[in-house]
Amino acid sequence: MVLTTQKESKAIALNGDEAVALAAKQCDVDVVAAYPITPQTIIVERFSEYVHNGEVDTEFICTESEHSALTCCLAAAAVGARTFTATASAGLALMHEILYVTSGCRAPVVMAVANRALSAPINIHCDHSDSMVERDSGWIQIYVENSQEAYDSIIQAFRIAEHQEISLPTMVGLDGFFLSHTLENVSVLPDETVRKFVGQRQIPLVKNHEGKLVPYKLDPENPITIGPLDLHDYYFEHKRQQEEAMRKASEIIRKIHDEYANISGRRYGNGRVDSYRLEDAELATICLGSTAGTVKTVVDQLRAKGVKAGLLRIRTFRPLPVQDILEALQNVKAVAVMDRSCSFGGYGGPVFHEIRHVLYDSGTHPHVVNYIYGLGGRDMSQLLVQEIYRDLARILETGKIDKSIQFIGLRE
């Protein structure tokens, strides 16, 4: 992992929301449409300031709902604009219908999600229930660990979403409050560097009803029809195309991440998964988002004690980096999957579903257990992480799993 040190880079103090807003500004977004919701609000506030102070040339639509916010972005993207929105929790849930429409229309909208719990009861704090619900919506999903990565990922997200081979909407999840409202060191690239990196919006070609190969955008010169009634004779084929774009995205995400590392000096694993001290690890946890930072701290402490502990952070949950997961865990003997959301009535949380499913093909079949944690912003302390590793050690020692799925940090 290449880390630029403080002295080499221009670090400023930004919270996650501010970092996202700044990144979107530097990407020269054409249309931003958004609606305020805690803990995303700072993003729209900052962006409004940029617009009102003339620091960015963007049409900013303050919509009357998140449903319209995403619709505006989708429609603007269909005209050929670069678009951005941000939301959280109930706002994302209200967008649900349009999330599918956006990916189905292959509109490369970029969205920041300040991850927050879903009601009821109402709760403004972090968990991943909001975006996990949308894992099958056809959006690329990136979960970030800190404000720096939030900044870097938004910039990468435009390249990923707008890549002609992909042309899919991309969601960047940053943990509500833990990142959205936490001031951290963020190294910021010069405007010009970012602009050069993201470049102009790319638009793929399609065959229209006049038999011409035309840009995929609403252009009076080259008319196209987007969003028709698609029945059993072709709908399936269109969904297969979406799946193909997702599959291609995996490699392109890695390439774009490498390219970005060249201009920034910053890397997050291979861009899809970020392994921490996993090479010779026997015990591993798997998680998404800001919790990974706390886990890393504990891993360091454990390593100092001679415990072979490691961490695998999934950065792109969609597309799921199946090969990376298999490779990263090939020597691990016991795995704890941490889920910051609950799949009620299911067998564990959504990340657990995926990981255990992937590991079925591993041949090594490590022990895999699941911890549901941190719902509604419940803190995941170092002590709790330590408890998980202690459980893993016990499983390894005894070869027995008492409970495959547990809630941690909960009063029983």
Partner: protein, 204 residues
């Protein structure tokens, strides 16, 4: 190989393995008194000195007058932690009335420091809170603020006191961060407050 694992017999002492040179500050104030702003200015001053920082509020619906916390982390190395502060090195109390209702010393490290806005002496505070270890600092922040600003806004004064008590950031960096954070007319008044509090803070 599933042999005996070190973890099965050892309970880790987190304290001993704490990331070196990480300082955690907890700010106590009331909604509207600027505890979050204070934690932010301290963090921004530290970043000017090339340090790694975090600053975050207690994540709750903040309401005017209600007791609120905020936090600052300052470190020589990148900060990975993204959890609450449980054992602060420094506790800062913006409003003396909080001492009666809020357990401000909870989790404070044995060798930590408590910094209180009050007219009374550090010894009296130590006695009142039954605090046996660590350091206690006091500063008459309300008085200073009223004298210079004309209003009892104590957050900037407390930053000055923190700088004096801990020496984690220089007064110069705090001045720079304050100038950046406030519009000129406000910065102009707050900087003398910080300097005055730096001067008047005392320990015992």
């Amino acid at each position: 190989m599933r042999g005996k694992h070190p973890l099965s017999i050892t309970i880790i002492d987190l304290e001993k393995n704490k990331v070196k040179k990480l300082i955690e500050v907890r700010w106590h104030g009331r909604g509207g008194q600027g505890a979050w702003t204070a934690s932010e200015i301290l963090a921004k001053a530290a970043i000017l000195e090339g340090k790694y920082i975090q600053s975050f509020p207690e994540f709750g619906p903040e309401r005017m007058g209600a007791p609120v916390n905020s936090y600052t982390r300052i470190s020589e190395e990148p900060i990975n932690l993204h959890c609450s502060v449980y054992n602060p090195d420094i506790v800062v109390v913006l409003d003396p009335t909080l001492l009666k209702t809020v357990p401000v010393t909870q989790g404070l490290k044995e060798n930590g420091a408590l910094i209180v806005n009050t007219k009374v002496s550090p010894a009296e505070i130590r006695k009142k809170l039954d605090l046996k270890t660590g350091k206690v600092w006091t500063v008459p922040a309300t008085e200073i603020a009223i004298r210079i600003l004309g209003r009892p806004i104590t957050n900037t004064a407390m930053i000055g006191a923190v700088a004096r008590a801990t020496q984690i950031v220089s007064l110069e960096s705090i001045e720079k961060a304050t100038n950046k954070r406030f519009p000129p007319n406000l910065a102009e008044k707050n900087i003398p407050i910080i300097k005055e509090a730096y001067k008047e803070a005392r320990t015992g």
